[in-house]
Amino acid sequence: MLAVLTAPAIGRRADSTSLSPLTSLTELMDPSLRLPVEQSLAARYSEWVAEALDEIQGCFLITDPGIAGHPIVFASRGFLAMSGYSLEEVLGRNGRIFQGAATDRRSVMEIREAIREERTLQISLLNYRKDGTPHWILFHLFPVFGVEDGRVAHFVAVQVPIPRRSRCLRSSAENRHEGGTGRFLVACRNEFRSDYKLGCNPVVELFVDVDNRGKLCLLFLAIFGSSCFLFLESINNKFVSWQCYQNYGSSSTLFHLLLVGLEAEESRHATEQEKEKACDAANSILSTLAHYSKLTGRVISDKRRSEAGISAINSSLVISLGRIKQSFVLTDIQLPQMPIVYASDEFLNLTGAQLSLSIRTPASFLCTISSNLILALPACVLLNSPHLSYSRHEVLGRECWFLNGPDTDADVLHQIRQSIQAEHSCTVRLLNYRKDRSSFWNLFHISPVRNASGKIAFYVSVQMDENAKSNEHGLSPHMRQLGVVGAVKVAVRSLSMCAGPSRR
């Protein structure tokens, strides 16, 4: 019998759920994201791009910042082999699942900022495999812009492993005798400790692998003596001690192993070769994507076209808004028809059809499909849910009043318009219509949102179906709506900050 134990890889709480590499497996992709994630590449690069990408050597991921949570939409075979994950375990998840306790926080921040600023970044990073073992990589991130709208279509993250070049402690036999690079001290203590019992096995040998900051990863191959209880204590920068509890019949002996003065590995630098390897892979991926994007007409480039894309909504704002899991839209009030410039997934679901199946294509004609017929649609119309809710493309650009219908109270609409004029927020209850023309009572709240210049840039409107569950986690529906407003205000204000005095 062999016991193989690894130090628990400690996860961390980033700006949304982030679990340790070991426990993250229990959480699969959010089912409502499945379709957008699977369609993400095909919609822009056609069905054949996946094959072409599979032929590129190397470890890389492709993520889509336009989908809530900024998920992974493609993982190369090399990446899956290197990380130990399967494709299902990785698709739809955010890239931070590969980070762990010893990952340098400043590096994490740099990646976050590069994504926000939509630029290329090359950085050494400590990542964690599925089995919890850490490894160093050269992480090369670059954005891919849609030529037409100037927005980031995808981010590509190339990873080149940086092998260990410093010493590590290998042989425990060596260490037990305080030889070689090991600086073990073995001390015996007669102490009884009955907590922290782990599965015990006849023989275990300690294999110590040192990673960044001296966090140790222990692989037990055999244990010495007879039944043994093991637990870990005080794993930290400079030393680790194990309490190794051995039961010799009635008496008990505690072996206290002290590893003193380990050199912690704070960073690992990539060689020029490794950097070149990363750039080469990046170029191959880019040219593949560029080539296939021509097939759908949604051409991409590695540079943003200067005039396009300084749109009201940049991709970092989209990413931030995507974290708000409630129904809301943002309208741009600077344009006369007040079009919708952002709609959350929950809005699309809320206003979606409940009964009949009808699709409206951009050409605006109705057609009914039965469950047997599949109508081929242009790639830009994506079906978001089995209920056939509005697709994002059907909603963006429409004027914000499109949920209203014949029985919507005109006085209430007037009240809303007045509030907008007065630059105030307001809360009303009005009758709205879904895609299938069924109506529902909408608890509607609208509020002005200013950007960094201090002037109003958008209005955020939050919708809530009156019949929906009322008090979630103790918070009233109105409070939850206000929560959306607060989160949107913060996102818009922070993310519209740019260098220099405002020009508006």
Binding site: I10, R13, R105, N236, R323, N471, H473, L482, R493, C498
Partner: protein, 435 residues
Amino acid sequence: MMTMTRIPTVLSNYQEDDSAEPRACGRNCLGKCCLPVSKLPLYSFKGDANPRNSSAGTDEPPPDFFLNNLLLGQWEDRMSRGLFRYDVTACETNVIPGGCGFIAQLNEGRRLKKRPTEFRIDRVLQPFDPAKFNFTKVGQEEVLFCFGAGKDRKARFLESATVGEENSSNVVAINVSPIEYGHVLLIPRVSDCLPQQIDPNSFLLALRMAVEAGSPYFRLGYNSLGAFATINHLHFQAYFLSMPFPVERASTQRIPVAKGLCQSGVNISRLLNYPVRGLVYEGGNSLRDLSDVVSKSCMCLQDNNIPFNVLISDSGWRIFLFPQCYAEKQALGEVSQELLDTQVNPAVWEISGHMVLKRKKDFEEATEQYALRLLAEVSLSKARFEEVKAYIFDAIELAESVKEKMEPKKKKETLFQSSALATHHHLVEGCLVLQ
């Protein structure tokens, strides 16, 4: 034993007023008269030792609940009720051009009342004085919710809970003169009237709040007396800004610890290439370990009468400690009039790189040079910083390793060319060259 030279009590002109006029009691205040029988919303967090490792259970509020729904939502509610002096989102803000990324804001509404300071600024430890303004005089409508450890293993929110006598009297209240959206005050054990001093439990609570918010852009800050705290009643500030602060981007150098003990698992580094010298605390085997090392360091500074500021960042993973000396210099007349005219008191946010400017002219002409010059005045000199560091290490029972084996991180190749502050405290022209 280092002490600040005794100077006459300075009537500080630059004092913010955190609340409306003090209320007579019977009006739902936060004192012992009203609070124990009041009902306020209560957020109780999980009582676990290592919240940074855990994730939300199924019937618990989701991870963004605390920050988005609760804190920001409640804040928005108070905005709609007109409880703030001005709309902070109408204040223009931008990033000052240059490599550091200082953030400037034009906030004319935060014009300070010319009112004498209510306590001396040359002492870091001063006893609480109930006659002076304190948070028990604040009305309950300014409280967003109470915040404390729950008894069970689940985070929980109750819209209305009796405050009672236990630890649920830690309150989160709005700052009526906010410097950003969501600017709140965390007041531990409000009715116990603790003076503005760090103690282990309060610091742990503050750290806990950063963890609960779960966003690297929601930071907490603390100013000691003498480092521009304006009210001698224990409080931390917090707000949300979705950008990195310049100090968070600065490179750091790990301080190697002599072979032996570092039981807590906390790493301490010094800031490099940043105008204010400071220490960065990271890691820790548990949140309590990190909290205790930092609070011990702060208490050491308090005992030595060294004013300081603390920034809790990166959801509680990184904590910055800045000993400072600006107030002393100001009192001794050693700060240039030009800097004084901008009326910026370098408290924790300014030190971290967020400058709130009160005059349009200052905002429009804000340069990186200005920010660097101001902050250079705040920093301890190299020699004094080393001294202070030695006190701190002594207090937390660490010995710095003599062999400086670690190479400073060469990641961004930033060269800080400002010389160490001269003994005569002349204005130092510092310049930061970034490649």
